[in-house]
Symmetry: C2
Subunit: 337 residues, 2 copies
């Protein structure tokens, strides 16, 4: 069905269209690519490619444009990830190296990725799963509230306010803090639920409601919200593109964190690059965009994802190279911390 030359034609169509953003015709193709055949032959191949749905003609007398299916084939079989230049790698290293804390690592990573790809970059905060509890702090906020701060050994800080208690004695909070830290500091997050199970029993009965409230918020904060935080950069790059869907829809989709989280989460193959093209994205507003994402983490353990959102008409090899490289460097930096 698709012989070698037809694939070469498809590849050429994709590459030229990505470069020029204009439908590409048979003559231009024959000129710019060493296909070794005449435009007429290319036309025949194009007809075949169009019948199979890989390319599409906006109107009769126009050139061809790749379809989502065409990009998909291109990504899967016709291209390879393009490694970064040495200069780019050095730039990454020095740019990420200067970060002082987790917030700054994430902030720099997302800006870096958006600049490398000239597109919108997304970085998810490292998940908590692998970390262990370094310290739990309970702070009476006056009145009837307590603030809880959990610090993990990966440098992540979770804070929550516990409310709806009766008035709480400061002494009780102190005891609870001591008890909690004895029970869970050093423990992996996964072990926390077991480790705190019998704590309420050790508390004086009248203080038990407080203890239970604190514990439930603790568990909730560790389990439920671990992947909520996401950072964006480079939305200005969208302005240069003209989308089939309106720019507004794309921006709206990007503002919904839950959408982004699901998007990144959908990566099929852990620890590999994932590319979702156009209509493969479930979200309406992102039907005319592609997303390239990757896991990052320390060692073999994936902590979270990073990704790039751009028009389906994007430089896939280059973008994939940048995403992969940045993911690796962030992993290294996190490991070094």
């Amino acid at each position: 069905m698709l012989d070698e030359r037809k694939l070469a034609v498809l590849r050429a169509v994709v590459e030229d269209f990505v470069n020029t953003n204009e439908p590409v015709g048979s003559r231009a193709l024959a000129d710019r690519h060493p296909l070794g055949v005449s435009p007429a032959t290319i036309r025949n191949d194009m007809v075949a490619l169009e019948e199979d749905g890989y390319i599409h003609q906006p109107h009769t007398s126009a050139g061809r444009v790749p379809t989502d299916k065409g990009y998909r084939l291109f990504v899967d079989r016709l291209s390879s990830v393009k490694p970064l230049s040495a200069a780019e790698r050095r730039a990454i290293e020095s740019f990420l190296g200067g970060a002082v804390d987790l917030d700054e690592i994430v902030a720099r990573t997302v800006r870096l990725l958006s600049q490398l790809t000239r597109q919108v970059a997304i970085v998810q905060y490292p998940s908590l799963t692998r970390s262990s509890v370094q310290h739990v702090e309970l702070v009476p906020l006056g009145g009837q509230r307590i603030m809880m701060v959990v610090i993990t050994n990966t440098g992540r800080v979770e804070q929550r306010v516990i409310d709806g208690l009766g008035s709480v004695d400061e002494k009780v909070v102190d005891d609870l803090r001591t008890m909690l830290n004895r029970a869970i500091s050093g423990k992996h997050l996964g072990e926390v639920p077991d480790a705190v199970e019998d704590l309420p029993a050790q508390v004086a009965p009248e203080d038990r409601p407080v203890a239970i409230a604190v514990l439930s918020v603790l568990l909730e904060s560790l389990v439920e919200r671990r992947e909520e935080k996401i950072v964006l950069a480079g939305t200005a790059n969208l302005a240069a593109v003209d989308f089939a869907a309106s720019l507004r829809d794309v921006l709206e989709a990007l503002e919904e964190n839950m959408v982004l989280i699901r998007l990144l989460g959908e990566a099929k193959d852990p620890s590999m690059l994932t590319v979702r093209i156009g209509a493969e994205n479930f979200h309406e507003g992102l039907r005319s965009t592609s997303i390239v994402s990757a896991d990052y983490g320390v060692g073999n353990q994936s902590l979270a994802k990073i990704g790039v959102v751009g028009p389906t008409r994007m430089d896939y090899p280059g973008t994939m190279g940048a995403v992969r490289a940045v993911a690796r460097y962030v992993g290294q930096i996190l490991a070094g911390q």
Copy 2:
């Protein structure tokens, strides 16, 4: 120079132009506003207004459009802040009420403000100045690094990694932590520098470099970075507007946190609404936008600012009402925490 009627004409021009986004002519004005004079008279007034630079004619046979100077006069003398409806106030209250921690208060505030105004909202994290230190935590990160976490009584958490030490004994860190907390917990941030001044002297000479490194990072984190954090929402609303400057420039400006911070910081009159119109903004990309900002805080003390960015052609009374109301509510919520 500018009699009562001319001002009324200017007000009408601004209001109509904001509504329709089209240059407004003398007839339309006479029809829609009870000015009690004929279009010809209005025309004469318009000529005067144009000579004084308050309105401007895109081309000979078009209506008039307010200039930045015209908007300025409108805001200063011709309009009053429009209070929110009861329904809107209830919505604010219930929306902000559900927040569990500082991050969420800020996140909800910014989303709320962008929805109320249908524009881009900016919220700055509460400044640290007024808070006091609740607790300082030092966490050995293995190797030669220490993580420091400062928790304030307003629920803000600052974390920094201290690096470039020799290898550090865990015992030393423990001692330092105890000492630090004894010295500064409960102290206002402003008092911290004094309170830690003589700490190094109390440490064994061989540990002094570590102590000094920790203290310098502590002071730096409290002083220098206090106003860096900013959150945005509603950028999708920009897509609906057509700017004189390109949308890209606006988005780029909005991504530079330092620009936004300076922008909010420029508010003249503390604890009041500030409006900066068009070219009054120093930043190139924001020459065709206006910014409405306000302080928020607890009691009389301002903690930080919130604001809205939109086209100069914006509904000033409504936007100002929303910004003011949200600022007040956030203050209340923070006071309640």
